[in-house]
């Protein structure tokens, strides 16, 4: 016990003696000093316990970092921050590193900041510090380091740009080339520091330096230049324009000046003056070339290719020279018709008909020249005769040919070139290209007199030409499908031009539809036809105009075409058995459109009737046609023929299908109700309907139908819709009733029970079972639908039978 007490006392004494010297106690003291910002005292204690306390190294680093912050001089600061970094080597316990890292990073950042300030625009020092930053521990201070680095890049961009400026200013070629590299470096650093000002300006300066050193430059896609300094742009584009002029790229120079150097300056005026001089020189050169070509043309040494190129280039040359010398430009334009004529005749002589047609078509409003229209016809004939019609050209060729031959003036033009006709006169009386006396002015040897041996028919010449062409296209085209295309197209075009010539009274230009539409004269023709309709209500004129419609919606011809097309659509819908399509056409507006034109309105029922008849002739047992026919009847106001057609078709359909048992009696009754409704006084229809009424009543009596309610509903409708013809033919039902009563009587049945009006049936007290009641109802309907007269004697009917 005593020993224990001694040990406790020794322990207490030991604790109080050694406690102040324990590392943790010392660390606490250092922490208190740190909190009191007495970093120097804290440093002394922390140095003592550097290796004895886990947090001592970090706290020591923190103290030194703060001492660095507090220090005023650059040297002292650097000393403390370097001491912080030096601590790393002394740390032996790896657990201490974790917290130390971030303190060290702060110290390193402070060092790099000091070094950045010390660099003071020195490229080498800045780069060295960048390398220092790149290799430094940045833990926890990454963004600070990043911003500091960007500052370096920004400074470097500025310095390189300024250096480049200085080099460029010397004007020495080698310096300017060096400047390009410096601007590139400036631009690279500017990109890293997002310094757009330097980026854009460097781009402009690089281009200027390249131009100064005679390097080739292309500014087409340089958007950065547009954002650079305005004065830089001015210098750049000015030098660029000069470069173009030196390279003889005059149009490019002109474009550069007009786009980028659009301001007053004697220097710019000088550029323009040089450009103008160049244009004059070019004009002189071109005139010399033209004169050489003219010489060759009359020496017959100009090839057809050269002639074509000469002709094709003439407009451009004339336009270009117009800016410099209008008179000269006009002189050049004046030679075009001669060249055109030469080229065209050469093409025709060489049988290059496609080329010739191309040449003619390029001539503005060529159809107004009878010579060109005639030549167009010759080329068209030539292509057909040489077997050169194709899917690509046949429309142009055929339409052009017809337009040419149907033009009386073209044939009259031929007379100008004949030398054998002195003993003849020519008559337009039978000409196919106009109505009689349409032409206001005709040559002396032409008249409208009767054709004779000496008064030659121009019409006969035209017909001869047409016949020759027709022989060619009918016999000479080997490809059967092309032959059909060509011949069908020829027939359609010919019919169309014949039709308009027959309708138009004035002396106008008559063209086949394709030719008229292709050359934009179709509206003129349509206007003439509209006029004819307005003056004479001539719907045939409107009909003739249909092939000429393109975008002429405001014309009467178009409205006529629209109405006419509705009928075509209706026919298509019928042929496709498309009830919905017929219904869609059946609108008030459409009806009004059709009713406006007698030609269409008066023939519509026949048109539809014939279409349906053709359809029926191909298939007389087609149920789908029935609702289509119903829609057609609904569409027309005048529809008696269609109703008759419908009722007969339905009736035949029902007979065929009831006999074949493909439809039942109820289905047939339902269909025949429609037929009866539309033809209530057609004896055949009425009789068939009555027979079906009888069949349906018998089916109900014999429990052979489930449609009792529906059948009675139809029969009730019939009761209130009996036509005169129905009444005249309904005795079939009375007979059926009489026959039934007779059979019942023979079987010993009290037939008075089946007569509602019979007094005995009321007095007898007998009641009918369900079968009897059914019989009675059928009897009653037979009686009522048989249109029997009321009688007091129930056997009257039977007696009558």
């Amino acid at each position: 016990m005593e020993i224990i007490l001694v040990l406790i006392i020794l322990g207490v004494l030991g604790y109080f003696t050694y406690h102040p010297f324990l590392p943790s106690t010392k660390y606490e003291k250092a922490q208190n000093l740190f909190n009191a910002k007495d970093y120097r005292q804290a440093v002394n204690i922390l140095n003592e316990i550097f290796e004895k306390h886990l947090d001592a190294p970090t706290k020591l680093a923190e103290c030194k970092l703060n001492l660095g912050y507090q220090a005023t001089g650059k040297t002292e600061k650097t000393k403390y921050f370097t001491e912080v970094t030096a601590l790393r080597k002394k740390i032996s316990n790896s657990a201490s590193f974790a917290k130390f890292d971030s303190i060290e990073a702060k110290a390193l950042f402070e060092i790099s900041k000091i070094q950045y300030k010390e660099a003071n625009g020195n490229i080498e020092k800045l780069n060295k510090n960048i390398r220092f930053i790149d290799t430094a521990n940045q833990k926890g201070s990454e963004s600070n380091f990043s911003s500091l680095k960007t500052k370096h890049f920004n400074d470097l961009a500025d310095i390189h740009f300024i250096n480049a400026n200085e080099k460029e200013k010397t004007g020495k070629s080698s310096d300017v080339i060096d400047a390009i590299q410096s601007y590139k470096s400036a631009s690279d650093y500017a990109k890293k520091s997002n310094n757009n000002f330097i980026i854009y300006n460097s781009t402009s300066r690089i281009l200027i330096c390249q131009l100064k050193t005679n390097q080739s430059v292309n500014l087409v896609s340089s958007s950065e230049v547009k954002k650079s300094d305005k004065n830089f742009q001015k210098e750049l584009y000015y030098r660029y324009a000069i470069q173009h002029i030196k390279n003889k790229e005059f149009s490019e120079a002109e474009k550069t000046i007009s786009l980028h150097l659009n301001f007053q300056s004697s220097n710019i005026e000088e550029l323009k003056r040089i450009l103008n001089r160049e244009k004059i020189n070019d004009a002189v050169k071109k005139v010399t070339e033209i004169n050489t070509s003219i010489d060759k043309l009359y020496n017959n040494t100009l090839s057809i290719e050269e002639l074509k190129s000469f002709y094709d280039g003439l407009d451009t040359v004339s336009d270009e020279l117009g800016i410099i010398d209008y008179e000269l430009s006009e002189k050049i334009a004046d030679i075009k018709p001669t060249l055109f004529n030469r080229l065209l005749i050469k093409n025709i002589e060489n049988e290059e008909y496609n080329e010739a047609i191309n040449v003619i078509q390029k001539y503005p409003e060529f159809w107004k020249s009878t010579e060109l229209l005639k030549n167009f016809g010759i080329c068209s004939y030539g292509l057909a005769a040489k077997g050169l019609l194709s899917e690509r050209n046949y429309k142009t060729v055929i339409s052009g040919w017809l337009t040419s031959v149907f033009s009386d003036n073209v044939i009259l033009k031929s007379l100008d070139d004949t030398a054998w006709d002195d003993n003849y006169t020519f008559s337009l009386a039978e000409a196919i290209g106009s109505n009689h006396s349409q032409h206001e002015a005709i040559p002396e040897n032409v008249n409208y007199d009767e054709v004779s041996e000496t008064n030659i028919s121009i019409g006969a010449t035209q017909k001869e030409l047409l016949q020759q062409f027709e022989t060619i296209i009918q016999k000479e085209i080997q490809d059967a499908s092309l032959s059909k295309l060509v011949n069908d197209f020829y027939d359609t075009e010919k019919e169309a031009i014949v039709n308009i010539i027959a309708q138009i009274e004035n002396d106008s230009f008559f063209a086949a539809p394709y030719f008229a539409i292709s050359n934009g004269m179709n509206n003129e023709i349509i206007s003439e036809l509209d006029k004819d309709y307005h003056d004479y209500s001539n719907e045939d004129a409107l009909e003739a105009g249909i092939p000429y419609i393109k975008n002429s919606k405001s014309t009467v011809v178009y409205q006529y075409f629209y109405a006419s097309d509705l009928i075509n659509k209706l026919k298509t819908a019928i042929n496709n058995e498309n009830k919905t399509a017929v219904k869609r056409i059946n609108s008030k507006n459409n009806k009004q459109r059709i009713e406006r034109f007698d030609n269409i309105n008066n023939s519509i029922e026949d048109n539809i009737f014939n279409t349906i008849s053709n359809k029926i002739s191909r298939d007389e047992n087609n149920k789908k046609l029935i609702p289509v026919m119903e829609e057609c009847i609904a569409f027309l106001n005048q529809n008696d023929k269609l109703k008759h057609q419908y009722s007969n078709y339905v009736s035949n359909y029902c007979i065929l299908n009831v006999n074949d048992e493909t439809i039942n009696n109820y289905e047939a009754l339902l269909l025949m109700k429609g037929a009866y409704l539309r033809s209530p006084n057609n004896p055949k229809i009425v009789k068939n309907f009555i027979t079906l009424i009888k069949f349906n009543l018998m089916d109900m009596l014999n429990d052979q139908t489930r449609k009792t309610t529906e059948i009675y509903s139809i029969l009730d409708w019939v009761k209130s819709n009996m036509s005169q013809t129905y009444k005249q033919n309904s005795n079939e039902l009375s007979k059926a009733r009489g026959e039934l009563l007779r059979q019942l009587q023979q079987a010993g049945t009290d037939i008075s029970l089946f007569d509602d009006s019979s007094f005995s049936s009321i007095l007898s007290g007998h009641s009918l079972n369900s079968q009897g009641l059914k019989m009675k109802k059928v009897m009653t309907y037979l009686k009522e639908l048989g249109n029997e007269q009321e009688s007091t004697n129930p056997l009257d009917t039977f007696t009558r039978l």
Binding site: N231, K234, R239, E270, L339, L415, F426, T461, I472
Partner: protein, 92 residues
Amino acid sequence: MTNPYTILGVSQDVDKAEIMKSQMFAMKKKEFPLQVIAVAAKQLLDPAKRLAADFMFPAKIKVKRIQPIQCNLKYKEINTDSLNENAFNSLK
């Protein structure tokens, strides 16, 4: 279809007698079948049909003979030496 004038080898202003004569020549020449020659002659002897054959001769537009273009402009060599390339120096 070959033009009857070509078949008979005659010009456009040939008269009836010459047509008959040329028919004989063409037959001797045997360049074309006899029937073709006969049809060609018949065509040229029928004024309406002959006019159709005449149709196939291209119509010439009346145009004047082109004269060499007189130009008052004179060629002058371009001199770019006068240009002051540093006129818009932007690094002053």
